[in-house]
């Protein structure tokens, strides 16, 4: 489903910010990308989305090689890759339903959608996405009146309305408090389990990664230095990933983490 080979991404002439020899992610996998700030987590996600053009190597997503793909091919694949942002990126003055309908723009009739008209099918898909995140009671409320947790749910519903094959989540819970963060990650993993997708999320907190992912990829200085199951991620591996960062807090978070769950949440 996702196949990266000999990938190198540079933002300027300096050394590459991301170097990946080989990375494959299959359908139904639930992957967490961890690593210190600046390790290349976002760059990796954005490469999979096709927003970052690699300088070398191959990025093949859903059977399309982004380096040689034509624009319309990329657009077709692009709408099948849902992205959940840290800052939600909702349209503040639109209602919950309108925001979720925006997830259908890649499929909707361009001319009709410009006039604000969506087909019955689009509305049906949007409504079932809203039901799935439990916001059916505030359908017509404006997005800027919602709480942080509700806004993130709207963002998840909008992503679901895209009917994605791959769900990317770029630090989806770093602007939420710990309880809300767990709720949202539970929702995202539940949604992933219900739909036929791969889930890749970058997370700042290793304990959340262990709690919610099946496979963990540890990045440091733009290189994959760990790729394995949650059980394989022990203290020494953690220290290797976060070397130089605050080890004590990492040890604490590891001690407090729950055993990895098998199967979907």
């Amino acid at each position: 489903m996702i196949n990266l080979e000999c990938l190198k991404v540079r933002y300027d002439r300096n050394s590459p910010v991301l170097t990946i020899d080989s990375l494959r992610i299959n359908r139904h996998e639930r992957v967490a990308i961890i690593g210190p700030s600046g390790a290349g987590k976002s760059t990796l996600l954005r490469s999979i989305k096709g927003y970052v053009r690699p300088d070398e190597g191959k990025v093949e997503v859903l059977g399309v090689n982004f380096r040689s793909a034509k624009r319309h091919e990329w657009r077709r694949v692009n709408r099948k890759i849902g992205l959940i942002y840290q800052q939600f990126h909702l349209v503040p003055r639109l209602t919950v339903l309108r925001n979720v309908l925006c997830g259908r723009l890649g499929y909707a009739n361009p001319l009709r959608s410009l006039m604000g008209i969506f087909s019955g099918e689009d509305v049906h898909i949007a409504l079932s996405a809203i039901r799935e995140v439990g916001l059916e009671d505030i359908l017509h409320q404006r997005a800027d009146t919602l709480s942080g947790g509700e806004q993130q749910r709207v963002a998840v519903a909008r992503m679901l309305a895209q009917q994605p094959s791959i769900i990317l989540a770029d630090e989806p819970v770093s602007s939420l408090d710990p309880v809300r963060a767990e709720n949202i990650l539970e929702l995202i993993t539940k949604v992933h389990a219900h739909h036929d997708t791969a889930l890749i999320m970058s997370l700042h907190q290793p304990q959340l990664a262990k709690q919610f992912a099946q496979r963990i990829i540890g990045l440091r200085n733009g290189r994959v230095i760990f790729d394995g199951t949650c059980d394989e991620l022990d203290n020494s591996k953690m220290e290797e990933i976060y070397r130089g960062d605050n080890i004590i807090s990492i040890n604490n978070t590891l001690a407090g983490s729950r055993p990895a769950e098998a199967g979907s949440a």
Binding site: R75, N78, Y85, L90, V91, R93, R104, L105, S113, R158
Partner: protein, 236 residues
Amino acid sequence: MDLAQLSQSGPRVADFLDRMFPPNLATSETELRPFPPPLQLAGKAVALTLQISILGTAIGTCTAFLLGFFAAENLTPHWVHHSVKMGFALLRSIPVIILALLFVAAVGLGAFPGVLAIAIHSIGMLGKLFAEECEDVYGGVWEAMDSAGANWLQKIRYAIWPQVAPQYFSLMLFRLDMNIRDSAVLGFVGVAGLGLWIENYRRSFDYASVATMVLITMLVVLVVEQASIQIRRRLR
């Protein structure tokens, strides 16, 4: 500046003000004058001035609305927004009265040259301000729409428009109230409306009627300004 001239002009100013006062409030012709009294013409003149400014603002706003997106540096490539912005600056650089003078020469006297002059001048200002509103929009929403597979127009419609619409209306009303003032001045170069009558009365030395027309113009501008302030307050 000649101070001597200023000191000597005191009696002339007094005489001038004296001839303006009291304003001519006659509703029918009491004595033989070249033009009918101002209160007889006021209704038509105000309506014409309002029509010129509303139509000019409408044409200017629509054009600026379409071009504004192309002038926003976050929405188009450098060469596009740069050239459109230059175009706006050029339009703004010509004073509205000179535009009117040119259009009077090109299309003749009446209301039409006024509409054109006001429309062209408004495009220059509104286009620039609309583009700046788009540039201030939070970019994350644009990327989120892109991520959903939206095309450029859909992104404009859903990521930009809902966020700039209130400001667009507010700027349009602001421009309308400027245009009403401007269109009164355009009478001096032959555009129909309040200004033309002020100019006609002045030429026939009927200063009492000039005073009435100026007062009417002030009243119209004040009323429109107040209305525009009230509407803009509600848009927020």
